[in-house]
């Protein structure tokens, strides 16, 4: 029983994960707005692009904490998403000067759009499930002897 480093990382992850859920919801809404003509692709890319790296950084931050806390299983279930993020960022459109993933000239292609929408929903589910998992992890590490 005690407030271990593992417990601290779970508490921290819980808070950050809540932010990630907001990011994912925002992402889903943004692409829905694009699809239904509410927003101009240029504006939408300008709002989405600055959010991409913070999301990745937040996700990596609490995973580093887990790594230090020795929560191997938690790290393991997060590795695929980290790998996907790295892959996605390496394969971003050529020649972009600012940070981000979305190029207003290609974003309206149905392939890109459906990929982004699917990505949004999948991440939302992933962050939600991991939210409850972190909650469980926090409690179990707090009550662990």
């Amino acid at each position: 029983m005690g407030f271990t480093f593992a417990a601290f990382s779970y508490v921290f992850a819980l808070i950050l994960d809540a932010f990630l859920i907001f990011f994912a919801v925002f992402h889903v809404i943004a692409f829905d707005e694009l699809k239904t003509d509410f927003k101009n692709p240029i504006d939408q890319c300008n709002t989405l692009n600055p959010l991409v790296l913070p999301e990745y950084i937040i996700h990596i931050t609490f995973n580093v904490l887990f790594l230090f806390a020795g929560e191997w299983f938690t790290v393991l279930i997060n590795i695929p998403l980290i790998a996907y993020h790295v892959y996605r960022y390496i394969h971003r459109p050529a020649g972009m000067s600012g940070p981000g993933l979305y190029d207003p000239t290609t974003i309206m292609n149905a392939d890109q759009m459906s990929r982004a929408t699917r990505e949004g929903w999948f991440k939302l589910a992933y962050y939600l499930l991991s939210f409850f998992y972190y909650l469980y992890g926090m409690i179990s590490s707090l009550i662990a002897v």
Binding site: D37, N40, P41, G95, M96, S97, T105, M108, N109, A110
Partner: protein
């Protein structure tokens, strides 16, 4: 059996064709190599209710009723649109309510269902709408019309409306043209500036516009040159600070063409020429080889963005100075060109832009209704992939004059002549400003991908800051819902634009396609030219996102899919040989040609800019020209023909087997025209056409051509009598234009017929092709031979081998 099939093809004249047209007959591809020339396409007759085939065309003339049926057919489904195509007899409707569906805003078209005299059902969203009261009133006589079907909206697939105030977000803009030209040392050596000045000067009267037309000029080398045209005399202002450009007197940089006409004329025939020409001596004022194109473009955008209009950029070299992102490095190592062309993974980054400066600028332009057109005159690497973005995204056009053998270094005189002719066409062609195009399709269909030069603003709306009659567009369509209860689906493309006279117009094209439920109907009514055009656009996208090898494989797979689907559709017919439906018989030929096309070829050393340009052409050429661009026409011109009676030589297929030893052939690749003269040609013909008696005396374009090195003396200078004062001795001095073709016009029937035919070919396209005159022993012979797409080359299959390869793949 082969013989028999050959005869069958030979005799396949009109009456036989009907059975093939209705898809009863398969075609064994292995039976005859000359499949293109031996078979005929019957173009269905069209009345005014059918959309012109060159304006809007579907890859599938009959639409599968479900997405799974489309999936089974393995064919791409999409539309090729040439919305601003110059053709006459478009009914113009004005002073009457524009009838549109209240729900989806579709325009009234010939394919709606008229329920009674007062109501119509929309064929896009199926809502029932009322006809307005004035619809049945004749605008001239003010009497009631008994027969509503005579109204142009209901009798023509293409109509044009004069729009009312509701269709404007701001008062219609005046026509505004801003020219941004390179005036560095490179430009001086190319010698294009005097040509440009003369051409614009001669076109001042025919530039489309009204009394409000605006015009302006900005030059750039390592600094920016502004020209104040607001005073009595043009004033030359130089801005050395290119990082943070300050625009002096913005309102007098872009001035009214009519009220300032004398100043503009003075600028064109005096100021512009004196830039390089002090005291009558042709010497560069300062040896300034920098190019601050990025800054100049940003400045031009600042000047014109409050009005909207067109920026014309003339680029002579790679941008080397300016704000971050606009400066480009030489990414192509000419020594590695050959190996690069084989290693396609290394090629992909070169096909994509290096920076997004030009793209961002184009997006800003697009937002302010400004389109940028790019003329690239540079014979060396100029990163068309990056700079070209400025035209691609803003809805402009790219004009490239750096193709191997046809550029300023090898043949400056003829290229300048082409540039001048193209500029005349460009300046005088019709133009629409602040345009948008919306494509509506029947509920259940949606647009999947867009191809062409524009910015996609929402799922069915593209913004075209300028629309011009030379650009074509394409959209891939996906089927989301079943059409089991429908007979037909409808597509409607509407372009809203401001014409040069400042009038807001809407041009509406409607295409109606029947729905079918069987796979054989889908395949038998496929449109092979449209499918090829769509496949090559998809392949360009694939080359940029993945690599060229992938794109090539995807095209081959598309053919394999087609052939194996046909086996399921007609198992009996497909039991022997390699069979496909009559409607898709040329697809393997076209794909085999595309694999050897400049855009997709591997193994052959290809300039990267040339490849990028070829890809741009495949993306933006309209349907009426793209087939020639993919599969050139080879005309035997030594045969009898009479162009004066509309009788032209019949093209033969691109195989050396079709080239006679005593023949003369004209190869039309859309971009170039080659006249290839074989050794044993008739002497009479020679003296008729060239006025020479010996074959060896024919002036060959390869004679003075040195491979990639320093340009020698302009070849064509021998023919023109009026220009070459300083063209003989040194290549340091600027070139001067000669004639576009080197063929003399002699006064005898053979020469007149040949020249008339060439004139006909040249006038059938918007841009001047580059003309090559080649003897059989020419040093440039390979450039003709590379178009023999049906023959085997070092790195690629012949057409027949390609078929055999397909057959073995199908069996395996």
């Amino acid at each position: 059996m082969v013989q028999q099939m050959v005869q069958q093809f030979g005799s396949m004249s009109v009456q036989n064709n009907w059975s093939s047209l209705w898809g009863q007959e398969g075609v064994n591809l292995l039976a005859d190599r000359n499949i293109k020339t031996k078979t005929v396409d019957i173009v269905p007759g069209q009345d005014t209710r059918d959309c012109n085939r060159n304006v809007m065309r579907s890859t599938l003339q009959k639409v599968p009723e479900t997405a799974s049926l489309l999936q089974k057919s393995r064919l791409p489904f999409g539309l090729l649109i040439h919305p601003f195509c110059d053709y006459e007899n478009i009914p113009i409707i004005q002073d009457r309510t524009i009838v549109r569906c209240r729900n989806c805003r579709t325009y009234l078209n010939p394919f709606v269902r008229l329920l009674d005299q007062r109501r119509w059902q929309c064929n896009i969203c199926h809502r029932v709408n009322d006809l307005p009261d004035d619809f049945l009133v004749d605008p001239v006589t003010h009497k009631l019309i008994n027969y509503p079907l005579d109204q142009p909206e209901l009798s023509h697939a293409t109509v044009e409306f004069v729009a009312s105030v509701e269709y404007m977000v701001r008062p219609p803009q005046p026509a505004a043209y801003l020219f941004v030209f390179d005036c560095s040392a490179h430009a001086f050596h190319l010698g294009y500036l005097p040509v440009m000045a003369d051409t614009i000067y001669s076109c001042l009267n025919s530039i489309p516009g009204d009394t409000r037309t605006m015009i302006g000029f900005i030059g750039f080398d390592s600094r920016i040159h502004f020209f104040n045209l607001g005073d009595k005399k043009p004033q030359h202002m130089i801005m050395p600070d290119i990082k943070d450009v300050f625009i002096p007197s913005p309102e007098s940089l872009l001035v009214n063409l009519h009220s300032k006409r004398p100043v503009i004329e003075h600028f064109l025939y005096k100021t512009l020429k004196e830039l390089f020409n002090h005291d009558g001596v042709s010497q560069p004022v300062a040896v300034d080889s920098g190019s601050a194109m990025g800054s100049a473009l940003s400045a031009a955008y600042e000047v014109i963005s409050s009005i909207g209009g067109r920026i014309t950029v003339i680029q002579a070299t790679l941008p080397s100075l300016g704000p971050d992102g606009s400066v480009l490095a030489n990414r192509e190592d000419p020594n590695n060109r050959a190996s690069n062309s084989s290693n396609t993974a290394q090629l992909t980054p070169l096909l994509n832009p290096a920076t997004d400066f030009y793209k961002k600028l184009a997006l800003d332009c697009s937002e302010h209704h400004v389109a940028v057109d790019l003329f690239n005159l540079s014979p060396t690497f100029s990163d068309l992939a990056t700079v070209g973005q400025v035209a691609k995204v803003s809805g402009g056009s790219v004009f490239y004059y750096g193709a191997t053998g046809a550029n300023m270094a090898t043949n400056p005189g003829r290229v300048l002549a082409r540039f001048s002719t193209d500029l005349v066409h460009y300046l005088c062609r019709n133009i629409g400003f602040e345009a948008v195009m919306r494509l509506r399709c029947t509920k259940g269909l949606s647009i999947h991908t867009f191809h062409g030069n524009f910015f996609v603003r929402s799922t069915d709306l593209i913004s075209l800051p300028n629309c011009n009659p030379d650009n074509g567009y394409a959209m891939q369509i996906s089927i989301d819902e079943d059409f089991k209860d429908f007979n037909s689906v409808c597509f409607q493309a509407a372009v809203l634009y401001t014409n040069p006279a400042g009038e807001r117009r809407i041009r509406v094209h409607t295409l109606n396609l029947p729905i079918v439920s069987t796979l054989s109907d889908v395949i038998n009514f496929a449109d092979q030219e449209a499918i090829t055009a769509m496949l090559c656009k998809m392949a360009v996208d694939r080359s940029m996102s993945s690599n060229i090898s992938d794109a090539r494989e995807a095209m081959i797979n598309a053919i394999l899919d087609l052939l194996s689907t046909y086996r399921n559709v007609a198992p009996y017919e497909a039991s022997y040989g390699l069979t496909t439906s009559y409607s898709t018989r040329l697809l393997p030929l076209y794909i085999s040609a595309l694999l050897k096309h400049t855009a997709f070829r591997v193994g052959i050393s290809t300039k990267i800019d040339e490849r990028v340009y070829a890809m741009e052409r495949l993306k933006s050429l309209p349907i009426c020209h793209i087939t020639t661009y993919i599969y050139p026409d080879l005309y035997p011109v030594h045969t009898e023909f009479n162009p004066f009676a509309g009788e032209y030589p019949k093209p033969v297929q691109l195989s050396f087997a079709n080239v006679d030893r005593n023949g003369v052939y004209l190869l039309d690749t859309y971009e170039c025209i080659y006249l290839y003269i074989c050794k044993s040609v008739n002497h009479q013909w020679l003296s008729d056409v060239f006025g020479v008696t010996q074959w060896a005396k024919i002036p060959d374009d390869g004679d003075y051509y040195s491979d990639g090195g320093d340009p020698k003396v302009s070849k064509t200078s021998r023919y023109s009598t009026h220009h070459n004062l300083h063209n003989d001795s040194s290549n340091r001095l600027p070139a001067t234009p000669t004639s576009v073709t080197p063929l003399p016009r002699l006064d005898n029937p053979t020469s007149m017929r040949l020249n008339a035919f060439i004139d006909y070919l040249m006038s059938s396209r918007p841009l001047m092709p580059h003309f090559f005159l080649l003897r059989e022993d020419s040093r440039l012979r390979y450039s003709f031979l590379q178009y023999m797409y049906d023959d085997r080359s070092e790195s690629a299959f012949s057409y027949y081998e390609f078929l055999q390869h397909l057959q073995s793949q199908l069996k395996g």
